[in-house]
């Protein structure tokens, strides 16, 4: 049963980004959200290496290795952009000046804990980057991840098994089959793909959940993967 592809997940997250906000998009699927903002929403994308106002990726002939985002992509600047040093960039992040950060994740727990930095790949060195800072500093933290691992294990859990990135911070999760809020009462499913039943969802989720009062189908236009 195929779920949403990467662009479709990013599209769904992008719909929830409010007009006039400052948003930080993590490496991987999250950064794709910038391509899918609804028309008319004027948003500043901040990248933790200090770019305030990341524009579209640079065309090949315009790529400038001095103008990169936190994912080392060569980018452009949007109108009104500026660039600050790393200290100032993380002061902005930690100080609550980022309205939303959208991050990739391995696991999210029903109390808002999440894990996205140490997947315990054998031998490979650790890499935390700015994830912990973003998770603690942004006013809202959203996660994007496949609902299940390749082996089929749930990623939405009562408690994370992998090393935590931050405690009690994730508010919303966009998976390939559902949109799930995290509330004081735990997971609340807001949207679910029409061809996935609630029972199927329960089988694929590692913690209890309730359905939102306005629970509805997860509708996303088909997009190229």
């Amino acid at each position: 049963m195929p779920g949403l592809n990467r662009n479709e997940m990013a599209w769904r997250a992008a719909q929830d980004i409010a007009d006039g906000t400052v948003v930080n998009l993590g490496i991987g699927i999250p950064v794709l959200a910038s391509d899918h903002l609804p028309a008319g929403r004027d948003v500043f994308f901040q990248s933790e290496n200090g770019v305030i106002g990341v524009g579209p990726a640079a065309a090949l002939d315009e790529a400038d290795s001095d103008l990169v985002d936190a994912g080392s992509r060569t980018v452009t600047l949007r109108s009104g952009a500026t660039i600050v040093d790393s200290t100032a960039s993380f002061a902005m992040i930690r100080g609550g000046h980022i309205d939303v950060t959208v991050l990739g994740a391995f696991e999210v727990a029903s109390n808002g804990d999440f894990a996205n930095w140490d997947s315990r790949i054998p031998d490979k060195g650790p890499l935390v980057g700015g994830a912990m800072d973003l998770a603690v500093g942004a006013r809202a933290v959203w996660a994007i991840m496949e609902h299940n691992t390749r082996a089929g294990a749930p990623r939405l859990l009562e408690r994370c098994a992998l090393p935590l990135t931050a405690v009690r911070c994730v508010r919303r999760v966009f998976t390939d089959i559902a949109v799930v809020d995290i509330t004081a009462a735990g997971f609340v499913v807001r949207e679910l793909l029409a061809d996935v039943s609630v029972d199927q969802l329960r089988a694929r989720t590692g913690a209890p959940f309730s359905l939102a009062p306005d629970f509805k189908p997860l509708l996303v236009p088909p997009l190229p993967a």
Partner: protein, 223 residues
């Protein structure tokens, strides 16, 4: 005597660097790596270094040459993983227990370096609270927020890349080159910048991004 911080070569800029030095290396994602200076430090040969660098093994930085050359005892970084499928030199040494590694969240990394340059010996931050990276660290709840106590990082040498320097050592950076450079320069006893070009005329006050007060030596290395 008129102040002039320009030196003739990257080698000359390494004069006095000693074994055991704590060395800051700026750069992020391909922007601002001081690769000419890094290679000069390799040729200089100082050993038992502690590198303070955002990524231990970024593919566009020559930091790995210092590591491969056996000059590095310890790395403090937010990233210690290479993009290549196998193990980088750093990761192999880490696996073999031949190099020390301290993994620091990137914002805490930046703030600890700033603190080193700003005379703030320690600070509390909510970042990393409740995670493995806070293990063994003192914690405290301040205004309802759980925090970790983090200490300043000061060092002996900072290697920066900028665009232009004047003879006073004032720097202008291109775009995202700036990243960790200013903080690292303030935290190091000896701060060296490689730049595309130097100039006799002072940079206009409103264009200076890092005051020459923090910079000891600059060397022009071209684009």
């Amino acid at each position: 005597m008129a102040i002039d911080k320009r030196v003739a070569s990257a080698q000359a800029a390494m004069e006095g660097v000693r074994d055991g030095a704590v060395v800051f290396v700026s750069g992020f994602g391909g922007a601002g790596f001081a690769n000419v200076l890094i290679r000069a430090l390799r040729d200089h040969g100082a050993k038992e270094l502690t590198l303070v660098v955002n990524s231990a093994t970024h593919r566009l930085s020559l930091t790995h040459e210092l590591i491969a050359n056996g000059q590095v005892r310890k790395v403090i970084a937010s990233a210690g993983r290479g993009r290549e499928p196998g193990l980088s030199v750093f990761e192999q040494l880490l696996k073999d227990g031949k190099i020390e590694f301290e993994c620091v969240p990137q914002g805490t990394f930046a703030e600890r370096i700033r603190a080193g340059g700003a005379g703030i010996p320690a600070f509390y931050t909510p970042v990393a609270y409740g995670t493995d990276l806070a293990k063994g660290k003192e914690t405290r709840t301040i205004n309802g927020r759980d925090c970790v106590l983090e200490h300043a990082i000061s060092g002996d040498l900072a290697l920066l890349r900028a665009d232009i320097a004047d003879r006073f050592g004032n720097l202008v950076f291109r775009h995202a080159q700036v990243n960790f450079g200013p903080a690292m320069a303030t935290a190091a006893r000896l701060a060296v910048a490689e730049v595309r070009a130097t100039q006799d005329e002072p940079i206009a006050p409103e264009r200076v991004q890092l005051s020459g007060v923090f910079i000891d030596r600059v060397v022009a290395v071209g684009a």
